[in-house]
Amino acid sequence: MNTDFINICLADDDEDDRLFFTDAFDELKINTKVSTFNDGVALMNYLNNENSVLPSVLFLDLNMPKKNGVECLLEIKKNEKLSDIAIAIYSTSSSEEHIEETFINGANIYIKKPNDFEDLKKILAEVVTINWQYHTSGLNKDNFLMRM
């Protein structure tokens, strides 16, 4: 396991969004290793594989084919091995229902996909450098939604 890198995973079915995501990390001067998955099934296969390196932060899109974000979230939180991974919901939607549902099911932060690439970079930089232990202990519904 290489501890110099922050391992990051993204599950998103949208090719453009995956591109923005990887580009943003490429431009950020943070040592990260980003893996992307096209859908929930691919992500879960990776996480359940014993040889896989588990990410420290997992970005989950909600609307995905085969297995959606919420299903993945439930599965991860049920699995003891995976339940420590910090989960950031990464979605176009900012509807109250989605925010509420993912908060209740144990996601750590909710990011509404920004409309500006520079904003995206700022958000991602902030998220990967969060002290999760500190963040999680003071987590409530108001600071769950990431605001710029």
Binding site: T92, F117, L120
Partner: protein, 593 residues
Amino acid sequence: MRYTQLQKSPVFLKIIFVISVAIIFFIGGITFKHITVLKKSSAWVSNSHEVNAELERLISYIKDAETGQRGYILSSDKSFLEPYYKSKILVRKSFKRVSKLTANSRTQQSNLKKLLFFINKRQNYLSKSLYLKEQGIYDQEILKNNLIIGKQTMDSIRIKIEDMMITQHRLLKNRQQEYESTMNYTPLLIYLTLIVTLVLITIAFIKMNRDLVLLKNTINTLSVANEANNLAEIVGGCGSWQLNFETNTYTFSDNEYRLLGCEPQSFEASLELFLNFIHPEDLEFVIEKTKSIHTHNDLAPFTYRIIKKDDKIRYFRTVGRIVTIASGDKTFIGTTSDVTDEVQAQNLIEERNRELENNNKELTAFNYIASHDLQEPLRKIETFLSRLVIKDYSNLSKSGQQYVSSIQSSANRMRVLIHDLLQFSRTNKGEKVFKEVDLNVLLENAKQELAQIMEDKKAIVESNELPTLNVIPFQIQQLFINLISNSLKYSKAKTAPIIKINASIITHNEEDLLPNSNSKYYKISIEDNGIGFEQEYAKKIFILFNRLHNKNDYEGTGIGLAICKKIVENHKGFIVAKGIPDQGATFIIYLPA
């Protein structure tokens, strides 16, 4: 009230009847007694006469004997002795008859004993005289003596008999007096009782007459009411029926038959025959309901289908309850009405409602999905644009740069539009959960949401104490956000916006537009010092996509105030706007208290 009078009548009449019968029995008894007395007294009269006649006869027999004896003594002709012997037997017989006739009078009996003594004495002397004659002892002195004694005895007999006759007469007189004294007061008594009876019968007659008049009036009223009811049933399309619990028989009104498509009273009313008309699918349900008549006092309204005689299906609604009539009997009365039109109209409305609801849901869903899903490509366009601007902006020509910024502002505008549309559809959709909330808190949240713009524009929001109301919290917060941001948006370029929020409680009659249904309202006004508007547009600004200004001058989608209207309507309130150009606008919200 009048009916209770009729109820008591039979008791009264019965009492009079019993009294009259008793009186008639009384009179009968007295009359019987009188006839008996009369009979007795006439018996006495004839008895006395007989006694007198017999006594006369007795004395004549004795005289006959004497005459015969005298004749024999004088003529010695034995033929004179014949009446003498005969009279002996006749006297005995006669005496016996008298004795028998006067058997019930002690005075007469003792008189008779004395008489018998004299008769015997007389006869002895007669026999003695005869004996002397037959022996030929013809002594003048002795004969004379004998005859004198005989005469004396004869006088005694005569006196005795006269005495007896007087006694008899006296007895008769006494008895007649006695009879007369009884007869004197009885006619009066009979007369009096007859008068009493007549009075009673007259009272009874008057009473019965009155009752009859009352009964007739009641019957008249009833028949009018009945006819009115019949008419009402025909006009109202309903019929009525009764179930008598005592006899377990049914009665149907005329219109009940007509409702079934039959001639009035064309068949004998019964549950079975009525059930024959019920639609087979509803039969079980109706039977269940009819059973409950016997266990419940009320039959709650229920609707079912029947098949009329002409095979047409109609909807009936039946309702009924137990009525205890004045006599104490229990009758179940029910009304059946033909509610086919009502049910069909109801069904139509329900169907339309469902359609409308579905349409509405589809529209809301469409609106939501459209605005939500439009965000996705727009976000890409904007992100790519932002990348283009950062990476390759300097490589673009002047016009290229111009185009890019135009695209950016259009995309930006589109985002605002989509955002507002989404907001609008959310106020329609979403669960409307009402909560008691302090509006001051909601206003504070709204101000926080707008903190950045307020700071930029150096705006001041002043508010007095707002009430705590039962509202949908996030919607009211949205309402404040939209109204304040509206004021901020249309503020004057060089003046810092001042927004004043005031709340007061008013009654419905202080404002024309408020309905009477809810007596008290909270009036919340939001007043600004912005550019205002012409009052003629006051209603137009709340219509979706309606804008008063060119979008280049003031950004806006024409959705914000439409959302406000929608939110206020969700709370059964009202919103109005007042504007004065270049002075400011005031938005007034009325929320039910």
